[in-house]
Amino acid sequence: MEAVLESIKINKYFRKPVLFHVLKDISFKINKGEFASIMGKSGCGKSTLLYILSTMDTDYDGKLLLNNELVTGQSRQKLSYLRNKHIGFVFQFHYLLSEFSVLENVMLPAKKLAEISLSEIEHNAMEKLKILHIDHLAKKRASRISGGEKQRVAIARALINNPSIIMGDEPTGNLDSHNSDNVFNIFKQLSDEQGLSLLVVTHDEDFAKRTDRIIQMGDGEIINKSN
């Protein structure tokens, strides 16, 4: 199986307020088409790991490979480009640009990438919204829709550039069980039907159990890599 994301001996320290070894020799792979979840107690470093994997946090030791390409040590400009093209992100809080319409929110990363024309971007964005059954909200302001809808818009935005992997930081943490189910089903569907790779940090055990693979973390170490 081909690896989408690979971490080799990643170590991270928090220097303030006291030196603290957060992540200890983290090495694992996410294969293409895999739906993996990272579980662990609060403070075990799972979010910290995710932000390193997302290339946003560059302050670590070790190596990170995305599509078998070394990411560690690249310039910030290059990292922004990689994030834009290869990584889709879904957060616990919905983080939409509240003054823009739903459609504009979804289109923004593609506009930044600017590989296809504006009309194609708009078409693609509508397609993604349709897949998530929220195409009727396209023209609404992002601040005027419900929490569950917001999360689906965020997923549509994560999908817009057809990324290699989608990362989620507690994407269901702020949703009720109905919406949680909904989001899980969307992820599952994307994984099954479109062969998308997903890596989701969660402490929702029900959610994790239904994924292909659970990476269990504790005290900055991976306890168990497979299920």
Binding site: S54, S80, R83, F89, E99, L108
Partner: protein, 420 residues
Amino acid sequence: MINWKVILNIAKTHLLSKIKQTATAALGVTFGIGAYITLVCFMTGLNGMLDDLILNQTPHIHIYNEIEPSKKQPVSLYKEFENSFNIIHSIKPKLTQKKIHNALPIIHHLNKDDNVQGAIPQIKATIFYISGSIEIGGYLTGIKPLDEAKLFNMQDYIVKGSPEALHNTDNGILLGIEIAKKMALDVGDRVQISTITGEVFPLKIVGLYQSGIADIDAIQSFANLKTVQRILGEAENYVTDINVKLYNINKALPLSKKIEQQFNIKAIDINTANAQFETGTTIRNLITYAVSITLLIVAGFGIYNILNMLIYEKMNDIAILKATGFSGIDVQLIFMSQAMIIGIVGGLLGLLIGLGLASFIGTIPFQTEALPTVGTYPINLNPWFFVIGITFALISTFFAGYLPSRKAKKIDPVKIIRGQ
């Protein structure tokens, strides 16, 4: 790679969604620039008027025969006393003629000089105005009215009549307005003048002269050059003063020195004669610019403040933009372009408001005895002020935007996202 369309679109949305804040920031610039334009147009207009008051009337170089003692006294020519220390008491000025020797060739020579706009002769004569048995002392200056009008804006100081009327009337006189008041005379009346030697001439009043300085208006009158020559009983080459106007006022000093050497005559340049006026202009300009720059800096701080607040409000947006692939520079450009849009819109509005206010001031009546031909406040609508105004608006908004936007560039998205 910078995608300006996306960046400007985000900037536009930010600005429009906070239209009140945007308007406040833009209005800060508008008032700053508007006040600058108004102030600078008004002040330089006044400056220009005050300068003209002196510059237009005053010749750049004034050539005349000075009455002064000889620099070389006879004793210094005497060989026997060559190496001794001579003290001479009560030196008297040298007896010289009032007229300029070879005046007409000098005028001819000066008019051929490339730096000279014109050199015109004058005759200054001391006379008495006679009203019944009363004699009032005064000066009659013989001029070439049309040349005076052309070079020294004589017409601006003629409140009734015209230089042409004087030119066309052989025995005409342009009477100082205070004298006319004293003697209850008006245009069309006749006035008798007498020379120092006692000869009396009747002259026809063709106009009234008002310099704005009452003391001068109470003694000074003008007549044609030839008329004065006839009154004094002098020949046609009798000229006591030559007034020179140059194209470039800065050449006045070297040229006056050259004339003094060449013709052995007194030549005074305008800067030596009116040293204080240059200082006044400089200081007024300094005040104008100090006030204007203060206004613009205050406007700049307004923008800085508002952008700073905007960036705090938009922390989440910045984090999300960065997480979805916008680089730090993209984010910085988003906020920079907001500042620049505020600067451009505010600045242009400011130019318009400044233009409107300055034009309005230019219509307010402003009448003063000192300036007979000025009817409204003087305004100097120099296009350069507008160029400077908009440039300063852009520069100040650039810096006001640069500092907060650099902060936005450096924001770590992980901290914001995890901080929730």
